[in-house]
């Protein structure tokens, strides 16, 4: 991407120089400072009030007194189980669909277009509507009740579009030479996909999984009526389990005096998401390009 000339030489090449140009510069800097300030305010507030409540015990103990005391251990376990169900179900469907879209879409013209269009619409469905859907299909029609399984399956439906988009992008980044070389060696298309394309596109796939995990971790509304509120340690996937985000909501809205622990839980959630964000950025910068361009 060539640098915009104005970004560097703007000050020197300017001939027409009115007051509006200076005003615009001031406005842009003002907006950026405002956004940075609000960001610092939110993050600073979370850290200032959350950090004092954070300890090893907070992560390893069960909550007591409706969450006012104790920790979040069963909630972390439930969250991880919900994420696990979500990824185990969505990954194969997502990868399969992405392979179809990137490798076979020329042959399956209308079908690929239909699939892509459906996924675009799915990506715009509000999370509370996923809640309505998951509650009806998984909890009631399929008899799973309020359970980790039901919540995980609902989230799987929700993260599919993002997962497919990222995996497809990863597959498309693989140079066409790889496919031609595979074909020239007389490999079947199946072998080309398994042995060449998927390994080469693995970083894109991983980025998709990480992004999907982030989206699922942040989700609350779709889980209220699928995985439920129970804050005990889950014994099976058919138990109800409270996700971390639901815990924050419950402490903040329904438990007077729960604000302190809500701050701490929010901080834990933010730290988990930041870790995920860092991993994605690192993968995108280091692994993604090296893997494809230098083998």
């Amino acid at each position: 991407m060539p640098e915009a000339p104005h970004a560097r030489h703007g000050a020197r090449t300017r001939v027409v120089r009115g007051g509006s140009d200076r005003a615009a510069t001031i406005v842009m800097w003002g907006i950026a400072l405002l956004i940075t300030a609000v960001f610092a305010w939110i993050l600073g507030d979370l850290i200032r009030h959350g950090l004092p409540h954070l300890s090893w015990g907070f992560l390893t103990q069960a909550p007591s007194d409706a969450g006012r005391a104790g920790g979040i251990a069963p909630i972390l376990v439930s969250t991880m189980l919900i994420l696990g169900v979500c990824l185990v179900v969505s990954a194969p469907i997502g990868v399969g669909t992405a392979i179809l879209l990137s490798e076979f879409s020329a042959r399956g013209g209308w079908y690929a277009r239909l699939v892509r269009r459906s996924l675009d619409v799915l990506a715009g469905v509000p999370s509370i509507v996923f809640g309505l859907f998951g509650n009806t299909l998984f909890s009631i029609y399929l008899g799973m009740g309020f359970s980790i399984l039901s919540g995980g399956l609902t989230l799987a439906c929700m993260v599919l579009p993002i997962l497919i988009r990222s995996t497809e992008a990863g597959l498309r980044d693989v140079p066409d030479d790889y496919r031609k070389a595979g074909a020239a060696l007389g490999l079947s298309q199946q072998a080309v996909i398994w042995r060449i394309l998927l390994p080469a596109a693995a970083p894109g796939l991983l980025v998709g999984l990480v992004l999907g995990t982030g989206r699922a971790l942040a989700e609350t509304a779709a889980l209220l009526f699928t995985s439920g509120y129970v804050d005990r340690m889950p014994e099976s996937l058919l138990d109800s389990g409270r996700a971390l985000s639901v815990h924050i909501y419950d402490l903040a809205m329904n438990v007077p005096g729960g604000t302190g622990r809500a701050y701490a839980s929010a901080l834990v959630l933010i730290v988990l998401l930041a870790l995920i964000n860092l991993v994605t950025a690192w993968l995108a910068e280091h692994w993604l390009h090296r893997r494809i361009t230098r083998t």
Binding site: P2, A4, P5, H6, T13, R14, V16, R17, G18, S20, A23, A24, M28, I31, A32, I35, T36, F39, W41, D45, P92, I93, G96, T97, L100, L101, F104, G108, L114, V115, S118, L119, V121, L122, G124, V125, P126, I128, V129, F130, G131, L132, F133, T136, C157, L160, I164, Q189, G214, A218, E219, T220, A221, S245, Y249, A252, A262, Y263, A266, L269
Partner: protein
């Protein structure tokens, strides 16, 4: 070839989900649409759906007004701020600062809505409450929603600013235009379609937002008379009542879900129409 059929099957599952989502919304809405009728969802005197089809009241109007007011206000505020933010990191920021600033906006985009809601509930609402009680109001909701959709506008607009050909910028530089004149006269018109799409996508996000608004708007079912009145959104109404709703009440909540989906489908269609126009222009 079996592999191809297996892949087609998986893709059919992925594509089938949206059909199931819309299908269940419709099927579950039918009882209320049949026994209450569409008209009463906007004509009844109030919202008391638990009393049954005959004695209950099913007016979703105030909540629709709440949703549209908060989303509309948030889009009005987030559009100039998000666009300004995109212009800053593309044209005004020094290289390193721009990179950090963009990362910051990405982090803002990733903050979960429940955390925005929590912050709004314990920090922003009391602050506004000191000035205009009770603090949990349409204004608080609009402000939180603005914060939440701002990164969407900023990141997507910036992507479309980046896709403006570099030759355009060289042209404006050669003409000796000032930075603002070239942005205003050349860059913004060239990126118009992408910016508009980003605004539409942000609007869709605003209409569907649940948790943050549930936590900061006070959730009183009423048509707001001022920005400081508490209101309830269509989305928060579902989150508040689905847990105990029965029969027609439950079905009425699916009707509100259907209304939401219709609004968002219209936006997606508009966004696609715009990007088609852009491709064929």
């Amino acid at each position: 070839m079996t592999l191809l059929w297996a892949l087609r099957f998986l893709a059919a599952m992925a594509a089938g989900i949206i059909v199931l989502v819309v299908g269940f919304l419709i099927v579950e809405s039918i009882p209320a649409l049949r026994s209450v009728g569409l008209l009463r969802f906007i004509n009844d005197p109030g919202w008391h759906p638990a009393a049954g089809a005959l004695h209950g009241e099913f007016n979703l109007g105030p909540m629709l007004v709440g949703t549209l007011a908060a989303a509309g206000g948030a889009v009005l505020l987030a559009t100039p701020l998000g666009l300004g933010s995109a212009l800053f990191s593309r044209f005004y920021a020094p290289a390193t600062a721009g990179r950090w600033y963009r990362r910051l906006v990405e982090v803002l985009a990733g903050i979960p809505s429940v955390v925005y809601g929590f912050w709004g509930l314990v920090v922003l609402a009391p602050l506004i409450g000191q000035w205009q009680p009770p603090g949990q109001s349409l204004l608080t909701g609009t402000l939180i929603l603005t914060l939440m959709i701002l990164p969407t506008v900023a990141l997507l607009s910036e992507a479309s600013l980046r896709s403006v050909p570099a030759s355009y910028l060289r042209g404006t530089a050669a003409l000796g235009l000032s930075r603002w004149a070239s942005i205003h006269g050349v860059v913004l018109p060239a990126a118009r379609g992408g910016i508009l799409t980003s605004i539409l996508l942000a609007t869709g996000r605003a209409l569907g937002e649940t948790m943050a608004l549930l936590m900061v708007t006070g959730n009183v079912v009423q048509v707001p008379r001022s920005m400081f009145d508490p209101v309830r959104m269509l989305t928060s109404n579902i989150a508040l009542e689905l847990g105990y709703a029965m029969d027609n009440h439950r079905s009425a909540l699916f009707v509100s879900g259907l209304i939401l989906m219709a609004l968002i489908a219209a936006l997606v269609a508009m966004a696609e129409w715009i990007s088609d126009e852009r491709l064929h222009a």
